[in-house]
Structures are given as structure tokens and as C-alpha cells.
Amino acid sequence: MEFSRLRKITALAGVASLAIVASGCSGGGSDEPASADNPVNLTVTTFGQFGYDDLYAEYEEQNPGVTIEATNIDGSANARVDAFTKLAAGSGLSDVVAVEEGWLGSIMEVSDQFVDLNEYGAADIKDNWVDWKFEQGTDPEGRVIGLGTDIGPQALCYNQELFEAAGLPTDRKEVAELFGGDDATWETYFDLGRQYHETTGKAWYDQSAFVWNSMVNQMDEGYYTADGELNIEGNEAMRAQFDLLAAGTADGLSANQKQFDWGKGKAFVDGSFAVHVCPAWMLGTIKEQLEAAGGGPETGWDVADVFPGGASNWGGAFLSVPESSEHPAEAAKLAQWLTDPEQMVKQSAAANNFPSTLDAQAEIVEAAVPNELFNDAPYGEIFASRAEGVVAQFKGPQDSEIQENVFAPALKILDSGEGTADEAWSEAIQLLNDRVVNN
């Protein structure tokens, strides 16, 4: 008697849990649009400088019933750990998740865990974006899992005060010419650095890893070939660039700063280095650093429409909707709204980054709002010009790992003067084997 009752209860529990599972699976597509009668909570996770706060409020106002709960993580590396942990756990991801270009490759490996935004009309607005940005967010099966927010075309930041003290031109057009204009090369960049170092005795750039990242990003194929094979060992073009950088660093051009730390921004104020590679979003980062160190426009930073080695893109983000979202339709709607050109213009103004949609770019160029912190530089015009000719490079699953944990430690050997180019390169290869090949 007891047993049979128990069995009944077990059976009931089984059916109930099955029903829950079933409804959980089907729950995806059938959510009702949000309204005042059907309130929907949407969670959003972003990182670093995203500039969305005002936009959330605007969206909530336009869409009664929608409440946005936003989380902003302090940097892309932490956002990566956060997203991966939650993906692994199978729950906890926000309805809208910002994904960085650097770890998009890993996300692509599990792209089936993200909603195909084509189901919510992504294909219709495809032409909003620069074509390569839209392609990056598309997985090999043609499912669109990420809508582009910003891109990171690279320009060159330089410090006017320091340039003047070294007898170099300070006007941003002259500086662009100085580096070689459209034909700027890394050789010129390092030669100017040597010249600067001889006159002032100071370092030219903050640390090698950022320069290296820029160099690799502008190659046709970076750490991976377009077919997804590792492309480092025996890659002579890459080794040549490495040697170029190593020679510069050996000549004292690196300030051996800690990346994304810079002594809490002090290195941007005290003249430790004179130039800095500047993907568009870096202006926001530098702004933050200057504020932390108490520096303002008077520190003399400016940005020139030039980049050694030609057009290059570093970073940029995407908005994705995970399959685990309970309101995929609402979430996709929000992601689309946030990446709409109109909103991108506002985002760009708030976060100092550069939009990935053509209309937004055009609007920013036309508005020509000067960036006060960078000597009133017309950053829209500069970065639109720097975005021309960018070719999207294939990013493999371990791209950010290779950048941060294979080459960054190897380049640190050079920065701290503890080894030669050969030693640093072979350390990089060994780290690659340890961490990526035999992982």
C-alpha cells in the first residue's frame, strides 16, 4: 500500500518534471510581446565602456512593460569568464549578452546555444552594418548569433606636449604626414621612436603587447589561417614583424607599462611614453585613465588619422541572445534596437567608441563633434577614414588566449630586457604548445 502510493507519487513527479522540461523547450518561441499587462524583465550584460545607460531608460519609456536590469562588468576578460561559466553551467546568462571580438571564436564553437537572430529579422537589416562586421557575427551554418555594436579601427594617439619637446610637429595633419600618411609603415614608426628616444631619453610606446596586437590584426591571416589552422610556427611574415618590434624594444622604446593598468593612469600624465595605438574604443579607455590620474585636455593627447602598416581593426563587440533566454523575441528586439544606427550614434557619444553601422558612421562624420579631451579632434571623421580598407581577419577559438597568454608573456621578456628576440619567440612557441596545441 505504502509502496504503491510512493510509486504513484514518483510517477506523478516524473510526469511533472517531463512537462516542465517540455514547456521549457517550447517556451522559447511563444512569448507574448511585452505590454503594460504583460510585464517582461530583460537582463543585459555588457562590459567596459558601453554607454548604454541612457538608452535603457529610453527603451523602457518607449516600451511599456519592459524593465531592463543591466549589469556592466569591468573588462572584457572578466566578461569572458562570466559568460563562459554561465554557458558551462547551462543557466544564468542574461537575455542580451555582449560578446567581444577576441572571444567570439570560442562562442562560435557553441553557436547553437545562441538564438539565430535571422528568426527575428536580422537578415532584413543586414545592410546596416559594414559587411565584414555582419559576417563576423554569422556562424558557419549561416545563423546570425551576434549583432555588431562598435568596431575598433585603429588610429595613432600621440602626445602634443611631448612631441613639441622633442622637436616633432604637433598638428595632427602634420603628424600623419610625419608617419607617412597613407603609406605609413612600422619601420617609420620605429625610426621616429629611435629619434625621439635619442632626443628625450624617454620611451616611445607604453608596452609591446598592444603594438604587437595591432601588427597581427592587420595581417591577412593572423594567429589562424582562414581555414582555422594555427598559423604561428614557421610563419616568416609574423616572425619578421616580431623582430621589428623586438629591435625597437631593445633600443629602449618600450616604457614597460602594465597593460590596462598604466599605474592607475599616471603613465598617461607623466610623459612616460609619447604614442599609443588607438582603436576607437581606446579613447574611452584613455579618458578613464586620465580621469583616474587627474589629467585633462592639458596633458596634450591628440589622435592622428594615420596608422603604421595600413588599415587595422582591433576589437569591437556584438550583442547576442542565448537560447536559455526566457524572452528571446523581446531580447532580440532590444538587441536590434540598441544596434540600430540611431542608437549607435548616441552610444558613440556616450562611450567614445565607433559604430559599426554605415548610417551611424555617416552621421557622426557629419556632426563632427570634437573630442575635447583629445585636443578637439574630429574623431568621427578620423575613425571613419581609418575604417576604410579594414579587412576582417578570421579569429580562431583561442585567439584571445594566444594574445594574452602566449604573446603577452613572451613580449614582457623583451619589455623588461630579460631576453633577446630569439628567446622571446621561442618562449612564445613553447607557451603556444603548452597552452593551445597540447591543452
Binding site: 561559466t85 557553441v110 621578456i413 603548452d434 597552452r435
Partner: protein, 378 residues
């Protein structure tokens, strides 16, 4: 669940004595089964949050297991083989041991000295005693933030002072030994006062008349300290050593936050084993190997626990300081929040009995969750 598990064993002897009334039988049942029922919540909870994760971690360690893609193919003990040949694993063990030694030894010496001073007749003694505990209340995150400013390489306070006196800068994050000292300093700052209080409690229970007779016999302050105080607090000292060992082997927060952009330095200069485990799981996304590291760390801690147990048993039988370790209580310290990967050594610990604290504590601390099972066999 509990009742059904225990009931059959307890009620089986009942039919053998038919003369017993229902009430008597109930009493017998109460006598025999109740103690087990009372302690069962701990063991059930432990099985759920300690034993199962431990077993499952071992299961995961036998597979290629990707963080995002999940379970892969069965590889047997290959992960163990590879981790044992991994230079970063040995590097992490070296760092862990080095930081452990740099933190534990000075910490215990200073803590004993502070305790001895606090044991004197001071004005406002509660104030002084509470003050030494203050660093312990500050969260490790805040401690790490403040200390990484102090130990900054180019803009840190310490290096600024050194430079203004004409000394060379110390590369606090790029060189191995300085980085270990920096991290050990954070650990010491946080834990010295805590240990001092535990040792103070032990010192308080040393009978005062021994000191008096020693003083009458002409023993000076130092002689009294070394010949009376130290031997008397030996069991508590052992407890402190053991908890410091376990805490030291699991150190995570301080090295993690000392340089939050890397996993223990650009070239793993101060990457501890738990930090390596964390990196393996969440940066390198290799859950199989991360589980392997967790298991190896667990085995090492068990080994340390056993050594501690043997030593402390020797000391406890030769020493005469029994019953003086009351202050130690059963509190167990935890240096760092457990990383999200299942770590063997986290779990609730029952308070230790007041009498004969040393051997019991040793077993318990050697414990770490999984060891509670062998515990029944001693």
C-alpha cells in the same frame, strides 16, 4: 529519507524480546537510533556538497572535458600524466609552498609575540585585543587592492620611498621572490591578529601559580615565556599550524587580485595551484585537467594532514599541555572563497571537543571533507 534509512537497523532487535511494551521499545529505539539521527544532517549534507562533488570531480578528470562543449572522450589517467609533466603545475606548487612558508613562519612568530604581550596586565585590554583582530574583518578584496597599490612597480608607495632614498625599484610583480613576499605580506596582515587571539586564549588558561613559583625561583620574563608559556600552548600551536597549512595550500584571492589582468603574473611568477586550477578551467577551458589539478591538490592536502597528524600525535603524547587549547575551539579558517570548480577541501566542520584537542583536530583538519569517512575508522 533519514528515517527510512535508519529505522530497519534499529527495530530489528525488537522482536527478540517480546516482553517489552511499545513504550519500552520506543525507548530502546530512541537510545540506539537517535544519536545517528541527530548527526545525520551533517553527513547527508556533507555527502551532497562534499563527497558527491569530490567523486564527480574525479569522474570529470578522466575525460577530455571542455568548459563550453562539455564531456568529450574518455582518456583514463592521461590528464594526470600530462598534468604531472606540466611545468606550470610544478611551478604553481613551488609558488604555493614558497608563499605558504613566507606567510606561516613569520606570522606564527609575530602572533605568539603579540599574544604574549596581550597576556600581560594592560589597561583597556579588550580594546587592544579587538584591535589586533581588525585586519581580519576587512575583506580580502579590499586588502588586495590596497596592497597592490603599495606594491606597484612604477608608481607604488614602497618603490617611491625606496627611490627617494636612492635605492633601486623592486619589481614586485615581475620577479618571483618579491612577488611572493608581497602576497605573503597580505596574508600575514590579515591573519596574524586572528592567530594571536587564538594563542592568547591558550595562554590565558595556563595556571598563574606556575608563573608565580617560577618567578619566586628567580626565572626571568624570557625564561618563563620559553619554559612555561610555549610548552603549555603546544596543542593550540599545532592547531594553528594545521589550519595555516590548509589555508596556505589553498591560497587564491590574494594572488588573483594582486594582478587581476593575469592569472598570477605574466610568467606565472606567483601563480598558486588553486589559481592554476582556475585558469585551467575558465581561461584554458579544459575542465578535465582542472579537475585533475583539483584532485592532485586534494591528495597533497591529505598528505600534509597525515604528516601533521603523526607529528602532533607524537607531541601530544610526549607533551603535558593537555586541555589548554580551549581557545582554539573548532573554528576553521578559510583563506579564500572556493573557486567555482569543485575544490575538495571545503565543507562544514563540526566543533572539536574541548578535551584533548590536538589529535582530534589533526584528524579533522587532515580531513577536508572527503576524509570524514576515514575518520570513523580511527
Amino acid at each position: 529519507m533519514t528515517t527510512t534509512l535508519n529505522r530497519p537497523a534499529a527495530s530489528s532487535p525488537a522482536p527478540a524480546k517480546p516482553a517489552l511494551t511499545f513504550r519500552q521499545r520506543l525507548n530502546v529505539f530512541d537510545m540506539k537510533a537517535s544519536p545517528y539521527l541527530y548527526i545525520s544532517p551533517f553527513f547527508l549534507l556533507f555527502a551532497l556538497v562534499g563527497l558527491f562533488p569530490l567523486g564527480y570531480t574525479f569522474f570529470v578528470s578522466l575525460f577530455d572535458w571542455h568548459l563550453l562543449k562539455g564531456q568529450g572522450e574518455f582518456v583514463g589517467l592521461r590528464n594526470f600524466q600530462e598534468v604531472l609533466q606540466d611545468r606550470f603545475f610544478w611551478n604553481s606548487l613551488f609558488n604555493t609552498m614558497s608563499i605558504f612558508l613566507l606567510s606561516t613562519i613569520p606570522q606564527l612568530i609575530v602572533a605568539t609575540a603579540i599574544a604574549a604581550v596581550l597576556d600581560q596586565n594592560l589597561r583597556a585590554r579588550t580594546f587592544w585585543r579587538m584591535s589586533v583582530l581588525l585586519p581580519y574583518i576587512v575583506t580580502p578584496v579590499a586588502v588586495a587592492l590596497i596592497f597592490s597599490n603599495l606594491f606597484g612597480e612604477q608608481y607604488g608607495l614602497i618603490n617611491n620611498i625606496l627611490e627617494s632614498f636612492g635605492f633601486d625599484r623592486i619589481l614586485w610583480t615581475n620577479e618571483t621572490l618579491p612577488s611572493h613576499i608581497a602576497i605573503a605580506t597580505m596574508v600575514n596582515w590579515r591573519w596574524t591578529g586572528y592567530n594571536a587571539l587564538i594563542l592568547l586564549a591558550a595562554m590565558q588558561s595556563v595556571p598563574r601559580d606556575i608563573y608565580e613559583s617560577a618567578a619566586i625561583d628567580g626565572a626571568g620574563v624570557f625564561r618563563r615565556f620559553f619554559s612555561i608559556t610555549l610548552p603549555s600552548i603546544r596543542p593550540t600551536m599545532i592547531f594553528v599550524v594545521i589550519t595555516a597549512t590548509i589555508g596556505g595550500l589553498q591560497i587564491f584571492t590574494e594572488p588573483r587580485l594582486f594582478d587581476p589582468r593575469t592569472y598570477g603574473g605574466t610568467a606565472a611568477q606567483f601563480q598558486t595551484t588553486v589559481l592554476y586550477l582556475y585558469e585551467m578551467a575558465f581561461q584554458r577551458q579544459n575542465f578535465g585537467k582542472a579537475s585533475t589539478i583539483a584532485w592532485l591538490l586534494f591528495l597533497i592536502i591529505v598528505l600534509f594532514g597525515l604528516v601533521n597528524y603523526l607529528i602532533s600525535q607524537r607531541i601530544a603524547t610526549t607533551g603535558d599541555g593537555r586541555g589548554t587549547g580551549r581557545g582554539a575551539g573548532g573554528r576553521r579558517r578559510k583563506r579564500s572563497p572556493a573557486p567555482a570548480v569543485v575544490l575538495p577541501a571545503v565543507g562544514p566542520q563540526p566543533p572539536a571537543p574541548a578535551a584533548e584537542p590536538a589529535p582530534d583536530l589533526a584528524a579533522e583538519q587532515a580531513g577536508t571533507p572527503a576524509d570524514t569517512t576515514p575518520r570513523s575508522g580511527q
